[in-house]
């Protein structure tokens, strides 16, 4: 009771990580093994023959019983060793971190773009409800929504690297190596993703703003002589933020989990493609590692959203 509430809260959330990670590791381990297909055969392909398969399987310790494999893996993970990828033999943990970086950069850029588009659009749509501005914004949002990202991505490439060739079609370079080129690579995928995200955020903003704008305290603010613009931003918008922040948290989660299609279209070396490739190759250590790492990330993102709730709305307490 005497502790600052946030300290207690953080502590309990961190403790909750233990069962989560245990559960996740267990589910991840067995789920991927439920799926038919064999990592060794996947690796060796059509040229696989029985000897090679057996040899590889034993060298990867895949011939041991599942519980034994699980415990061995868990033991290693606890010491920080996520094992090596079956495909290509890279160390899993650096592999995942290496893919997480580009994904995180893309995610943040996309979110920023989507918020820059969606929040003003949503607010305009809500405050000018049933006007051309509202219809226009909603129409655009739904277009963005019904346009799958592979289409949008390809169209953007056509537009900006072929018809008006100002940006590279795809690729990635670390911002530490060449920040400018990094940015030039970032623009199109971030736009693709940002547009898709902004559709949802815009609609959500509009809906909650409509709700909030009817509240009595809006009338109070107007009675104070606060100009409409400020009423909207400072009074209404702040009260509309909980669902928006929730949505952003969810989107952040989805983005950090990887956006396979965008990553594929733009050859962005992110966690999504890595994980999906690993799933298809039944690259057990990579899948397990990626799921664990994402689970931890999600717990932190949610923790962050919960903390943000309390900042937005003093009536919401921690826990």
């Amino acid at each position: 009771m005497e502790q600052a509430p946030v300290g207690k809260f953080l502590l309990s959330r961190l403790l909750s990580l233990v069962p989560i990670l245990f559960g996740t590791s267990l589910v991840a381990f067995f789920l991927i093994r439920l799926i038919p297909g064999d990592p060794v055969i996947a690796l060796l392909g059509l040229e696989a023959n029985d000897d090679a398969i057996a040899a590889l399987r034993s060298s990867l310790a895949l011939d041991r019983s599942l519980p034994v494999q699980y415990l061995a893996w868990l033991g290693n993970v606890l010491t920080g060793d996520f094992g090596r990828s079956i495909q290509g033999g890279r160390q899993v943990f650096p592999l995942i971190l290496g893919a997480l970086g580009p994904t995180a950069l893309l995610a943040v850029a996309a979110l920023v773009i989507s918020l820059l588009i969606a929040i003003p659009a949503g607010i305009v749509a809500a405050t000018r409800r049933d006007t051309v501005a509202d219809y226009g914004a909603s129409f655009a949002a739904l277009c963005g929504l019904s346009m799958p990202s592979f289409w949008l991505g390809v169209l953007l490439i056509l537009a900006f690297s072929i018809y008006v060739p100002i940006l590279p079609a795809s690729g990635y370079v670390s911002p530490l190596v060449d920040p400018l080129r990094f940015l030039s690579f970032l623009v199109l995928p971030a736009l693709t993703l940002g547009t898709a995200l902004s559709a949802a955020t815009m609609r959500m903003t509009r809906a909650t703003m409509l709700e909030v704008l009817r509240a009595d305290f809006i009338r109070t603010a107007r009675a104070k002589g606060v100009p409409w613009r400020r009423v909207v931003w400072r009074h209404a918008f702040r009260n509309a933020q909980i669902p928006i922040v929730t949505l952003i948290g969810i989107q952040m989660g989805q983005l950090l989990g990887g956006v396979v299609i965008t990553e594929t279209v733009f050859s962005w070396p992110g966690i999504g493609k890595l994980t999906v490739d690993a799933i298809f190759a039944r690259d057990y250590p990579v899948v397990q590692g990626a799921v664990l790492v994402t689970a931890v990330l999600f717990v932190f993102i949610n923790l962050l959203t919960d903390v943000v709730y309390t900042l937005i709305d003093p009536r919401v307490g921690l826990q």
């Binding site: 009771m1 600052a4 509430p5 946030v6 009595d216 309390t310």
Partner: protein, 358 residues
């Protein structure tokens, strides 16, 4: 001897407010060691300064907020420890009319439905009679059947308050906490509602915890009174005792400050100087000492217990309680009104009596 309907013992409530996310918590002592009883068919009037904890006590009694200490006995049975499911059953016996009727009505539920739902929940009427009952309740509080199909935001403040009253009455409780239940009503509707509550009391033995700022109303309805100051009861007893012979300086000032509906009369209304103590700090001594004209040094060193003055059930928490003179309040206002006024009121009464008779 049978147990009283409600007995409240040593009730205490402390709110903790964190100063922001990383700030230190502060404790506000909002209700402090409050005890009182409400007999069946009695009306316990709770008065006190705004912010003194009246609403909080009302909510504590229904366990809508959990107390930090003390016990609540309903019919002699401890309810402070009851499980949620048991509490739900008990809630049919106790009701609350919230101070802010608008906030306590679901904006998406038509008022007829809001009143009907608890009737159905507690199976108080056969299904087909529910609608009639709703109309009956609405009419009891001066609304019409046509209003059942409207939403709360379509009502005026006073109308909402009446809806809240009708909803509370719908469950036919034995105890009703009325938190400023009639304050937003015009006088004639207020009269109608007070008559209704009195009628329920007389016919069915309903009891009330009646919270109000309006001394005239309290005087009219309360059998017992408790005076709350900064979370503590400073005076309590039978209404006529407390009003007739107030012993705590705060009670006396409260009564003296009551306005009178006679123009020119009220100009002597006296405000109490100073401000109540902060709930965040607890100084020793009587809480009222800082504002009390009769305070002496002893008042500032020790908190006087509620029984300092005790005659029968009349108690006051003031070490000088015995010393004060009787307080004579101006009585009948009507007598001080103009002849024309009295004549017309008299005409009205006679005309009403006449029309009722026919």
């Amino acid at each position: 001897m049978t147990a009283p309907l409600l007995e409240v013992r040593n009730l205490t409530k402390t709110y903790r407010t964190g100063g922001g996310l990383f700030g230190r918590e502060r404790a506000a002592h909002v209700v402090d060691d409050v005890s009182f009883v409400i007999e069946k068919g009695a009306t316990f009037g709770l008065v006190g300064e705004s912010g003194s904890g009246k609403t909080t006590i009302g909510r504590l009694v229904l366990r809508l907020v959990e107390a930090n200490g003390g016990s609540l006995l309903l019919d002699g049975e401890e309810i402070g420890e009851k499980s949620d499911a048991e509490m739900r059953r008990l809630r049919q016996r106790m009701q609350i009319i919230f101070q802010d009727p608008f906030a306590s009505l679901d904006p998406r539920v038509k008022v007829g439905e809001a009143i009907a739902a608890p009737i159905r929940l507690h199976r108080l009427r056969p299904r087909r009679d529910v609608r009639d009952r709703v109309v009956e309740l609405l009419e009891l509080v001066g609304l019409g059947a046509h209003q059942a199909d409207r939403f709360p935001h379509e009502f005026s403040g006073g109308q909402r308050q009446r809806i809240a009253i009708a909803r509370a009455l719908a469950v036919e409780p034995e105890l009703i906490v009325c938190d400023e239940a009639v304050s937003a009503l015009d006088l004639s509707i207020q009269a109608q509602v007070i008559n209704l509550l009195a009628d329920l009391r007389d016919r069915l033995g309903v009891s009330y915890l009646f919270i109000s700022h309006d001394m005239a109303v309290i005087r009219h309805v309360a059998t017992h009174v408790g005076v709350l100051y900064a979370g503590r009861l400073v005076e309590t007893g039978e209404a006529k005792e407390v009003f007739g012979n107030p012993r705590h300086p705060y009670t006396r000032m409260l009564l003296a400050a009551s306005p009178s509906p006679v123009p020119g009369d009220a100009r002597q209304r006296q405000a109490i100087a100073g401000e109540p103590p902060s709930p965040y700090e607890r100084a020793p001594g009587c809480r009222f000492a800082s504002r009390c004209p009769s305070a002496i040094d002893a008042c500032r060193s020790e908190q006087p217990p509620l029984s300092t003055f005790s005659r029968g059930s009349h108690q006051a928490a003031c070490i000088r309680a015995e010393e004060f003179d009787r307080l004579t309040l101006l009585s009948d206002e009507e007598a001080r009104m103009s002849p024309a006024y009295r004549l017309r009121i008299d005409l009205l009464r006679r005309a009403r009596a006449e029309s009722r008779a026919t």
